[in-house]
Symmetry: C2
Subunit: 312 residues, 2 copies
């Protein structure tokens, strides 16, 4: 009898995709589910968090609320979409104070209001373990959608924001620093700019870390991706060792994408405001994921965050 | 410090609606969230279940999978919609056997395939308590949508199927009978017939029991609803006491709706196949919910299933 933690998340997800979409008709495994609405695609995504996997003990409830909203919105952003609304389902202990739910909900409202996204509905149930699932829906014009597949040799690899912000919490797992993990910034505006540029050939949000995200884009595109360590932007105050760790650390939720060199100016000259984008590498013919560091190129293994701690 | 179980589900939901939709712009609190797509409405709903609230100990995993799919599809059906697809998020213990997830997923696939609905995506996480959230999306032409509001005095009250099927499980809580609770039949085809009839003035699925559902329709419409105990169809083999209990028992997920007498033939002459509909009462001017039994009319209190066991 194999246990889920022996199988690991990647194998689990792969088995589920095989079960639910054996002929690949529904493109399972991208950041969102995609439904044809005629001129537009409807994007739908759902993420579930609970005390064990995403809610550090002692974290502020408002931060938890912000988090569940933001990570779902991030999936819509990764496909270039404009979110239309969100739903939430709560599992809470009956003996929990009402203020827990109120504060989580205030955090949700804060995040959604910040991006002018309405909360449209939800569900509440009793649960022995605090659990929150979010669902975000959005739309994107068909001609603008950003898939994980599509990177071509010669494309420029780029990303929004910086890597390793959650390290501030990971260092000591201090609950007072949990906001570095939880206050994810969904790159909705950036995703729309990328989508409208008609220059972006593939895109993903780095929820499971840079290395895993690079592997996803490489595999989906049947290409190789090479990043230059010295061009990566890291959060302030990280040691070299922490920077190396941050290559695989989950929780950044920045967008990682590839840009066709022919139309690169439509991306790199666009106005990203206070959150610039950075060119970090290039797509190669040779399949695989590589990192250039200290003048040498080596393989970058897929060691990003994996639920169920599988060894796959 | 008030606890959630002191407040109770109805008050909790009411507070959340006030927080997220203070001016009622988004019609929170119906069976689905509703988004304007032009000619159609998009319907979105999410429901979460866990070991504590909806998964009886010992229940078959396939039945659990069927259940989470069916209860979400039931919400789409209650608004007259055609489901377009579903997403699922799983929280499972790392030491759970892979076969648990496989069987739950097989149950989900069985239910979705039965109604030709694709599974479009999802999420898997580790959780100490088995938790599954489902999200269903669907569409309905604007002219056909069925709301909870809309019942008018003189309308006929009717329902699909029978009441009290889950009693078979509630009697002894025998895990071998959990399918009576879990194998919910989502009334998708029936919902579409009701929507297309242009005769149905309000509709709800009775997930929380007949009495609570009657109170929802009465309150939403600003009217009264009176049902005739003798006209209610119950599951086979229920004692009189069990029938009285079944008025408040959650888990039936049949559609309860009101029909305009002017167009009643478009509903009551329609072909509902092997699952007929039954006229059970009438909408009244006097607000409230009433039951006619043994020649006397009395108030039917709102005693349906309430999570967090509040006394409200």
């Amino acid at each position: 009898m194999t246990r889920l933690d022996e199988l690991g998340e990647k194998a689990i997800v792969s088995d589920l995709i095989e079960l639910f979409d054996p002929d690949g008709a529904h493109n399972l495994g991208d950041d969102c589910a995609v439904v044809d609405l005629g001129r537009d695609y409807l994007l739908v995504t759902t993420d579930i968090i609970n005390r064990k996997t995403h809610i550090p003990e002692g974290a502020g409830s408002r931060d938890v609320g912000w988090h569940i909203a933001a990570i779902n919105l991030s999936d819509i952003a990764a496909m270039g979409g404009q979110p239309l609304g969100m739903l939430f389902a709560f599992g809470l202990r009956g003996d929990a104070p009402v203020s827990d739910l109120t504060e989580i909900s205030e955090g949700i409202r804060e995040c959604c209001s910040n991006y002018a996204i309405p909360v449209l509905g939800g569900d509440t149930k009793e649960s022995d373990v605090l659990t929150i699932s979010g669902t975000a829906i959005g739309t994107v014009p068909k001609s603008e959608i950003l898939w994980r597949k599509g990177a071509k040799p010669g494309d420029i690899i780029a990303m929004t924001g910086v890597l390793g912000k959650p390290m501030e919490w990971f260092r000591a797992k201090d609950p007072h620093k949990a906001q570095f993990l939880l206050r994810v910034v969904p790159r909705i505006r950036e995703g729309r700019i990328l989508a409208q540029s008609q220059a972006v050939t593939s895109c993903i949000d780095m929820s499971d870390g840079l290395s895993t995200s690079l592997h996803h884009l490489a595999k989906a595109g049947g290409v190789g991706l090479e990043v230059d360590f010295n061009r990566l932007l890291f959060a302030q105050g990280l040691s070299l060792e922490e920077k190396e760790h941050a290559l695989h650390l989950g929780g950044d939720y920045e967008l990682l994408f590839t840009v066709s060199p022919d139309r690169a100016e439509h991306v790199f000259n666009a106005d990203f405001g206070t959150s610039p984008i950075t060119q970090v590498g290039e797509v190669t013919e040779d399949t695989g994921v590589f990192i250039l560091k200290d003048g040498a190129t080596s393989q970058l293994p897929d060691k990003g965050y994996e639920h169920f701690g599988g060894s796959a």
